[in-house]
């Protein structure tokens, strides 16, 4: 079982309690897509992942974590 988790919710909170809508507008997706990414229901494209990291000014691995459960 492989799982991708993320820190988007925490990063939004740390960046002035940025709303999902504000983040969605910055990375050119819908609010529902940001919500799905945040909840781990949808894995974004590499481009969208880099955009999210760029918005928060952190490297990609600080936003997304890959864990391999044996």
């Amino acid at each position: 079982m492989h799982a991708i988790t993320n820190e988007i919710r925490r990063l939004r909170f740390e960046h002035g309690e940025m709303t999902q809508q504000q983040l969605a507008e910055k990375i050119h997706v819908t609010r529902q897509t940001v919500n799905a990414i945040e909840q781990g229901k949808y894995s974004p494209s590499l481009e969208a992942a880099f955009r999210i990291a760029a918005v928060f000014g952190v490297p990609l691995e600080s936003v997304f974590h890959y864990s391999k459960d044996e």
């Binding site: 997706v29 819908t30 529902q32 897509t33 919500n35 799905a36 949808y42 974004p44 494209s45």
Partner: protein
């Protein structure tokens, strides 16, 4: 609920409702009536277009920005998955229709059977869209 999901609900319910009435009418008349119901079909198509346009405009009025926004990557992925499921159903149903077509049924039966397959495929596509939007992706 996103605009895309509402749009899928509109398509599913209007197709099921309006074409449901058409097929109920055709079955009520009997398959051996010997004539294609072109007037009924034309009325059905016009009713479907009017209902879908009016409902989509109404929904868009409540969320104009969302309605104008282009599809994002998740919307496109969901549409592709729904299309794949619907195409599989369509291909299977057409194969069965070809098989039964070889039994030489009345042309009015064949035509309505193909129309039924197309409508069912579109309903299946809308249902897949809704399920994926409900799940998140």
């Amino acid at each position: 609920m996103s605009f895309r999901e509402k749009s899928a609900w509109i398509s599913l319910l209007s197709m099921a409702g309006i074409y449901g009435l058409y097929f109920w009418s055709v079955i009520h008349d009997g398959p051996q009536s010997g004539r294609f119901h072109s007037g009924k079909l034309l009325g059905t198509i016009i009713a479907l277009v009017v209902v879908e346009v009016v409902l989509h405009i109404t929904v868009a009025l409540f969320a104009p920005a969302e309605a104008r926004a282009p599809r994002d990557e998740r919307d496109k992925l969901i549409e592709l998955r729904a299309m794949r499921v619907a195409y599989s159903g369509l291909a299977t149903a057409v194969a069965f229709a070809c098989f039964f077509g070889a039994l030489d049924p009345p042309i009015v039966f064949n035509t309505n059977a193909l129309l039924f397959i197309l409508v069912t495929t579109e309903i299946m596509r809308s249902a897949c869209l809704i399920i994926q939007y409900r799940r998140g992706a």
